[in-house]
Symmetry: C2
Subunit: 294 residues, 2 copies
């Protein structure tokens, strides 16, 4: 990994994880609920979403005492969606990131409620921002609700479920991903831009960046599912192929998927260059997302 | 029913239901998700929570163009909690209010996602208030998140589930209800008070009112479960008794539960009288909640 990015991640990830634990440390949460929420938040992952929020602030030379709280907030939304996604009535996964899923440890009832509570906690965190002016904070609430709800992430999950029953044309596959993973990734960039008081031109180009990086993220996911080993992924490799789900490699072939990935990557970098962020942490994060092998 | 209350409800309930449908009419929601969300919102119920919001505004001689949106928002939270509560991994109920539950019609996966999306929609509605000043709107976001999350409604659900395995002492039973149903009912009163710019003294007494009315609501629920018929309830009567769950009648006997109900009712009315609302829609709603037979 690039050394600048490594240093950025080594500095920020522990801060993000401390903030997540701070948010979870509210009094009055029943023990089993707290344990269940903490379990999934600690299960970790790459913290890509919070890192994107912080990278925007960094690259725009901005700083906000609320940045970590906003970053943690989106990680709560992401984590709640994983807990619910793994439930037997959804994807029915027993393992995620090499660890037993929430419901296999705490039961489906607690897992459902832990996800519900985590969604509320995300909005509570935004309501408790202290340095951000209230109209920006309220804008973040609206953007996060839209990105995560029936017009965003949940929409993508529904389209994905419906799509499993047939072969999707490429446009529909993109529609799934733009919502299922793209909406929340785009929110991260947008949230960073709000906190950094970015200009309209910056926001427009950052949106172009995040749309392309969101799709690239998913294409790489699909490619890895074909090419990586089970050990690298922490979940069964080829799990998508075995369920005959439409993926970029299944629609375009592996080479075609890689060509798409390259195109998305280049457009994302072009968007950054157009606002003078050609050599930025965002660009390094984009490279990392696209070149990762797990 | 009292005629003044009847008139208030006849005026307000159709407005509330129109606002709920307006909120659901966002573009870009996939059909099956929209149908599932609409199904449970239309399944209705008494709209007690939105009515409480509107009653506070009415009784404090206040008006807000945002009142209906705030009222609808809390009904979304209530409805999402019912959808998730009915799931097989939770209470496993096939019927609610005499209609098949959401998951029996749309499947558990869509029901889970419809609940998730409905929670986001509640916060999105608050972010889109137009007449309320932004700091009040953000306060509502924080209050609603706290009332519905790990320190509020979800906490109550967890305590309730854990409590099913043994006989609870009265104090623990109250702790369940103060969170499971009380927190959201109290939020409704508080939200009305925020919109009405109520004084500190009014807010304090309204909190005393809502705490007592919340418990009274639950005591009456428990009493009805023993005394009402299955037809009146729209769900199997004696469902709590048959699962050996702790209830007010099981702990205090039917007479003891009725005495508690009377005491809570009187304290709620005393709180209203102390701020000159002895003869108000809130008082009539309290009477209705306590004297209802379904």
């Amino acid at each position: 990994m690039n050394e600048t990015l490594r240093a950025f991640m080594d500095e920020k990830i522990p801060e993000i994880e401390r903030e997540l634990m701070n948010q979870l440390a509210k009094s009055d949460i029943p023990d089993v609920l707290h344990e269940s929420m903490t379990y999934s938040v600690e299960a970790g992952g790459k913290r890509i979403r919070p890192l994107l929020v912080l990278a925007v602030l960094h690259d725009l030379d901005s700083d906000s005492a609320d940045a970590l709280r906003v970053a943690a907030s989106v990680e709560f939304i992401h984590t709640y969606s994983l807990i619910h996604d793994d439930l037997p009535c959804m994807d029915d996964d027993d393992f995620r990131r090499g660890k037993p899923t929430n419901h296999t440890v705490f039961g489906e009832d607690i897992a459902t409620l832990a996800g519900d509570a985590m969604q509320a906690m995300a909005f509570q965190a935004l309501a408790e921002l202290r340095e951000t002016n209230v109209s920006d904070a309220l804008e973040l609430v609206g953007l996060l609700a839209k990105a995560s709800g029936a017009q965003g992430m949940v929409k993508g999950q529904v389209l994905d479920m419906k799509g499993e029953q047939r072969v999707l044309p490429l446009a529909e596959l993109e529609e799934v991903h733009i919502h299922k993973t793209g909406a929340l990734l785009s929110y991260c960039i947008e949230a960073g831009a709000v906190l950094a008081q970015a200009t309209e031109e910056q926001r427009t180009q950052l949106r172009r960046f995040s749309k392309n990086i969101g799709l690239a993220f998913q294409i790489q996911d699909d490619i890895l599912d074909v090419t990586a080993t089970t050990e690298q992924l922490g979940k069964p490799a080829n799990s998508d192929t075995s369920s005959e789900k439409s993926t970029y490699p299944s629609l375009l072939g592996l080479d075609g998927a890689r060509a798409q990935l390259k195109e998305r990557h280049e457009e994302a970098l072009d968007a950054l260059q157009s606002i003078g962020l050609g050599n930025s942490v965002l660009q390094l994060l984009a490279d990392y997302i696209i070149e990762r092998n797990m």
